[in-house]
């Protein structure tokens, strides 16, 4: 099965969930081609309780949306207005 390499940057306090994460470098995650947003959260061991949001190409992905190699991926937390 083909593997894709995803470049992920993590924001907010979610950074603390991923051991060894360095923000200046981000993190590279290898997943099977066609992997979904849900697969990425599972790989990074981020629970539903964290309510993480994955953004690719300026759009929020739903959990079954597929990710694309080469697209910058941002892992964010829900925030409110400030």
């Amino acid at each position: 099965m083909r593997v894709m390499k995803l470049s992920v940057k993590i924001y907010g306090t979610l950074q603390q969930q991923v051991p060894g994460y360095q923000h200046s470098k981000g993190i590279e995650v290898e997943l099977a081609d066609g992997a979904t947003a849900r697969d990425l959260l599972t790989r990074l061991k981020i629970s539903d309780k964290q309510m993480a949001v994955i953004v690719m190409d300026g759009q929020i992905l739903k959990e079954n949306d597929a990710m694309r190699e080469g697209a910058p991926i941002h892992l964010l937390q829900p925030v409110s207005g400030g």
Binding site: G12, T13, V53, L76, V79, S80
Partner: protein, 380 residues
């Protein structure tokens, strides 16, 4: 009030004791539940104490809705350098505080203390909207300069958002170049010196636009919009247009609904209704003296019951509030009536023309709601 030379209002309570809590048992029990909900919420309990409101820089840029270079771009090229994550790194090295008790008795601690390169206090709290207005809008991606501009505004006693947007409008008019840090500082210092330009900037972005004959001024009812572009978070445009206060980010901010995936920020269905719902609830909750920062944690029925329990435990059964949104509606109705009596009409509930005409990158969308659709926010 300022125009009439009024300096202060003193309200004397007429006695030595604060208002009594009429039902202390309900008040204490509800406050305990509410405090637990607020401190366990990921935003108010974790994100805000660690990163403050600046934590919004990343999500709003990621969604292409950070109005930059006087609202010509939705992603600011240098946003990573002015993000909360970058501020935390800078302040960690300098011994600054990302968590700080800004308000007495607060359980959130969203404030911060920003130190300069020599470890000396420069400003605090450095907030999201300031970082946007003084950074994204002006093209300045240097945190220490933004912090200096924040300090100057606090010291002079002017709003960072109106001042930052006024600087951006001046830059947009060719007065100075975007990204020119010393020019931005000079413009704010002119405010204090009372120069001709300083006096114009002190009157806000609309006055700056008029001075330069530039119609690219992001204001509603002459108040600056906030750090959410209405072409990429379209419900926020409804709130800017219809809030009796003008382009206000505290009236009905939908960013939480977008990141919580309740609504798509670029699609019309549900936006008008959500703006209305938030404006009513926020007006009611604001009236109780509650902080906007915890509203996101008040979504569940349990949280709203606890909040009402605190209010009604204090007020007692005779003055009990049954529904904050109903109260908020009364407040907004009164504010709208005030505006009507002051001569404002539904034609003032509109965004500046350029939001309808200039597509905002990267989504390349314009604000999609007609005047008739906007008017349905409160006439429904």
């Amino acid at each position: 009030m300022g125009a009439k030379g009024l300096k202060a209002l003193i309200v004397e309570q007429g006695g030595k004791n604060a208002d009594p809590v009429l039902d202390p048992d309900t008040f204490k029990a509800s406050a305990k539940i509410l405090a637990k909900i607020i401190t366990e919420d990921p935003f108010s309990g974790s994100m805000l104490p660690n990163l403050g409101t600046a934590a919004l820089v990343a999500p709003v840029n990621s969604l292409g809705a950070f109005p930059s270079i006087n609202a010509t771009q939705g992603v600011f090229e240098g946003w990573e350098k002015i993000s909360a994550e970058a501020m935390a790194e800078i302040q960690k090295a300098r011994g600054g505080q990302m968590k700080h008790t800004g308000c007495s008795q607060c359980i959130v601690h969203c404030s911060n203390e920003y130190l300069d390169a020599n470890g000396k206090y420069l400003t605090g709290s450095l907030e999201y909207e300031t970082i946007w207005a003084m950074g994204g809008m002006t093209g300045i991606d240097h945190f220490d300069t933004i912090a200096r501009l924040d300090f100057l505004c606090d010291d002079i006693g002017v709003d960072t958002m109106s001042t930052g947007v006024g600087i951006a409008v001046a830059m947009d008019s060719g007065y100075k170049a975007f990204g020119d840090q010393s020019a931005a500082i000079e413009m704010v210092e002119e405010l204090a010196r009372g120069t001709t330009f300083g006096n114009i900037l002190g009157q806000g972005p609309a006055a700056v636009g008029e001075h330069f004959n530039n119609s690219r001024v992001p204001v509603v009812k002459n108040q600056s919009i906030a750090a959410y572009d209405p072409r990429a978070m379209i419900g926020n445009g409804i709130s800017y247009a219809t809030s009796p206060m003008g382009g206000d980010h505290t009236a009905g901010n939908l960013v939480g609904a977008y990141l919580g995936q309740v609504l798509n920020p670029l699609e019309k269905p549900g936006q008008v209704e959500m703006s209305r719902e938030l404006q009513y609830f926020n007006a009611g909750a604001d009236n109780m003296g509650m902080c906007l920062m915890v509203y996101a944690s008040l979504n569940s029925p349990e949280a709203r019951d606890a909040f009402l329990g605190v209010i009604n435990g204090f007020l007692g059964p005779e003055r009990a509030v049954a529904d904050l949104s109903v109260l908020g509606r009364q407040i907004i109705d009164a504010e709208r009536e005030f505006n009507r009596n002051a001569g404002l009409t539904n034609k003032d509930d509109r965004l500046p023309k350029f939001f309808y005409e200039e597509p905002l990158p990267p989504h390349n969308t314009v604000f999609p709601f007609s005047g008739e659709e906007i008017d349905k926010t409160f006439d429904f």
